[in-house]
């Protein structure tokens, strides 16, 4: 399941905390129970990566077993199939970063056009693009694949990167940011000073909508990082696989070779670390983007 980033129409006023806060023990109990549910699989992962397969088979899944095999799993993950795991990781980075950067740039430019210019077709082009937000992207994946074949892009990184750079919601978001974050008077003043349109956009405008840029980039990056269906359909060469596809192939190929389940689980953990780190370090943009985007009173 994939979802679009959400920005919601809310009031322009900056968040103000309600004065009253309560800490009822009942709410604490609910929170602890919910935490257990959300963290259980991750805890299980942390336990499992210290085991080998027979321990995984025979010992209780929610507690550690002796001796530890964590180091073996780490070594195995780095060497399995010629160390291809880290190549997959690099691919995931490359695809997600490229998609994210291209999506952000193109959305920023197009959003700027819709926000600051009057031109023929402005209304209906925007409506068409906005309307497509509701077309499920996976319904497009197979047609995209067939098309990509016809233009000779199948089995190239472009087949993954380019379709993911199209982010109609990102465009909508950027338009809102331009509308609110970059007053038209500034543009007019700059024009009188003789600045070019590109310079106004690039040097004056972009810094003012930085929050929007980061939000669009983050969400495109996450969507691309998490994408499975598109690479599954358009890529055949396992050296080009992203992490999601590579791990799923490993998980499906246990016939006849000693199944490396605990190594695969370790791989799953390693594959979510980058996003977790990004989440913890960029958290404020992440959450910020959830509201500040749509301040279009």
């Amino acid at each position: 399941m994939t979802q679009e980033p959400m920005t919601l129409p809310v009031a322009v006023t900056r968040p103000v905390k309600p004065a009253v806060k309560r800490n009822s023990p009942w709410l604490a109990v609910v929170m602890v129970l919910a935490l257990m549910y959300f963290l259980l699989p991750l805890y299980w992962v942390l336990v499992s990566i210290t085991k080998d397969n027979s321990q995984l088979n025979t010992t209780f899944g929610l507690w550690f077993a002796q001796p530890w095999h964590l180091w073996e799993n780490i070594v195995q993950l780095g060497t399995q199939d010629g160390g291809i795991f880290y190549r997959w990781m690099l691919n995931s980075f490359f695809y997600s970063f490229s998609s994210g950067a291209l999506a952000t740039m193109s959305a920023a430019m197009a959003g700027y056009a819709f926000s600051k210019f009057n031109f023929a077709g402005r209304g209906w082009i925007f409506s068409v693009i906005l309307g497509t937000i509701m077309v499920p992207s996976t319904a497009l994946t197979l047609p995209i694949f067939l098309l990509i074949n016809n233009i000779g892009l199948a089995n190239t990184p472009w087949a993954v990167i380019l379709p993911q750079m199209v982010n109609p919601f990102g465009l909508y978001l950027m338009r809102v940011f331009w509308d609110n974050g970059f007053p038209t008077e500034l543009i007019e003043a700059a024009k009188i000073d003789g600045a070019s349109d590109w310079r106004i956009f690039w040097s004056m405008g972009l810094p003012l909508v930085r929050g929007g840029l980061i939000t669009v980039f983050l969400f495109t990056f996450v969507a691309a990082w998490n994408n499975f269906f598109l690479p599954l359909v358009v890529l055949n060469n396992n050296e080009q696989f992203p992490l999601t596809l590579g791990l799923s192939v490993w998980n499906n190929t246990n016939t006849g070779r000693t199944p490396q389940y605990t190594m695969i689980i370790l791989g799953a953990l390693v594959s979510i670390l980058p996003l977790l780190t990004a989440f913890f370090t960029l958290g404020r943009y992440w959450q910020g983007g959830l509201t500040t985007g749509a301040t279009k009173g």
Binding site: A154, G256, P259
Partner: protein, 445 residues
């Protein structure tokens, strides 16, 4: 005691067969000349340790490198990838592993090269005849047979010993053994596992009972009969065992399945020859406490019978996208027929050769290496060689294999969950597959 003697006899028999085979020289083909220049071939295969086997080829032909890629077993990986790559017109490997049952499907996509123009004219003489006919359509040859998958029964000798059960030779005895195990273990130990998501597994069992699922008529149309009396007998039988909880329905090759086998919760499994390699590879590090694995002939419907079926058995196909079809054909041919490669295939993955000379190789009886080593030195190749003799070799396949597999899973799931009888499951399997094949444009009755 008696069992042990039988075992010894079997082992001795294997040794004798090995000794006789030793006397014969391995009949290796005279290969065509290798193309010149530096060539790299890509080969998709899910056979374990295939890299080692392919490396032998490069040792022989240093200018041809082979990159082995595992994109997942059959339907859960290689087939969809291969099919989309063929459709895409790019991205397909030079050589790919395809099972016999999927040759018609891939041949009908137009993506497989006809190998006749790349192979010496006597190539077919080096393979077991029925395997060659499985890869041929008219005059065209779409793949090089790799292995056969005759069916036999892998069992846990220690479990049978513990519960004092003789190795069943008929399906009646098998059911009785299931009952005994069920009662003696309080339902914990199942006699076997029903692979409800693998149509080819069921097909092999029906095949052993004389079923013929597809027939290519002379007018180019097909006749499909998935619900013959023979097939229904097999389905009803397993349905009954399931109902009585004598067998489980763990996912084939899943972590659950291997786990149950190693814990001694599943006493037998009907497996093709390559299954010995799967068992050895998957359970090597975790065989289970006191586990002793053995192979016995497939239980029979008629006492004293020798019938068997076939599950899988693969080939190497060359795609029309290959830029080096000569080298690809040579590689495929060499890989399946040269002595060094055949021996490695057996030891690495239990690949039971389709090359006729391969069956007599003494290395197949080598007790000190897998798969036989895993079976405590039993000459498992000898058991499967016998099983191979009982396979009806005129079995034919259809080009709509993916539909057949998907429909089987669906109908069997309904049957396993008691929502329809097993006989109905076969009727619906037949009807549904027929409708879909027709809608896809196939001429089938």
């Amino acid at each position: 005691m008696k069992l042990k003697q039988g075992m010894m006899l079997l082992i001795a028999g294997g040794a004798v067969a090995g000794a006789i085979a030793l006397a014969q020289a391995f009949n290796e083909p005279k290969y065509q000349a290798a193309p010149k220049g530096e060539i790299t071939l890509e080969y998709w295969s899910w056979v374990p340790k295939m890299e080692e086997q392919a490396a032998l080829f490069t040792k022989q032909y240093p200018n041809i490198k082979v990159k082995v890629v595992n994109v997942g077993a059959g339907q859960s990986g290689t087939y969809p990838k291969l099919q989309t790559a063929i459709k895409a017109g790019t991205g397909a490997p030079d050589v790919a592993q395809v099972e016999f049952g999927y040759i018609p499907f891939f041949a009908s996509t137009g993506g497989l090269a006809d190998l006749t123009k790349y192979l010496p004219s006597d190539a077919k003489n080096y393979f077991v005849p029925w395997t060659w006919s499985q890869v041929s359509q008219g005059k065209a040859v779409y793949g090089i047979p790799q292995d056969q998958g005759p069916f036999a029964m892998i069992y846990r000798k220690d479990i049978f010993d513990k519960y004092k059960i003789a190795v069943p030779t008929t399906w009646n005895e098998y059911e009785a053994a299931g009952k005994k195990l069920f009662e003696a273990s309080g339902g914990k130990v199942k006699i076997g596992n029903f692979f409800s998501t693998f149509a080819p597994w069921f097909t092999a069992l029906a095949w052993a009972n004389g079923a013929q699922f597809w027939k290519l008529n002379t007018d180019g149309s097909y006749t499909q009969t998935l619900n013959s009396a023979a097939a229904k007998q097999v389905a009803n039988y397993w349905g009954r065992l399931l109902e009585k909880k004598y067998v489980s329905t763990l996912g084939a090759f899943s972590a659950d399945f291997w786990n149950a086998v190693s814990k001694g919760e599943v006493a037998t499994s009907m497996e093709a020859a390559w299954g010995t390699g799967s068992f050895a590879g998957s359970l090597e590090k975790n065989p289970g406490v006191g586990a002793e694995y053995r192979v016995a002939p497939l239980p029979q419907w008629k006492k004293g019978g020798t019938a068997s079926g076939n599950w899988g058995g693969s080939t190497a196909v060359v795609t029309t996208q290959s830029k080096n079809p000569e080298a690809a054909a040579l590689f495929a041919y060499w890989l399946m027929s040269s002595k060094a490669s055949v021996v490695q295939g057996w030891k690495g993955a239990g690949v039971f050769p389709a090359a006729s000379a391969g069956l007599d190789l003494p290395e197949l009886s080598d007790k000190t290496s897998n798969p036989s080593k895993f079976f405590d030195g039993q000459n498992v190749a000898a058991v499967y060689k016998e099983a191979g003799k009982g396979v009806n070799t005129r079995f034919q396949w259809s080009p709509w294999a993916p539909t057949v597999d998907a429909s089987f899973q669906k109908q069997m799931d309904l049957a396993v969950n008691g929502k329809q009888s097993f006989a109905d499951a076969l009727d619906n399997w037949q009807a549904e597959t027929l409708t879909k094949a027709k809608a896809d444009g196939y001429n089938v009755k």
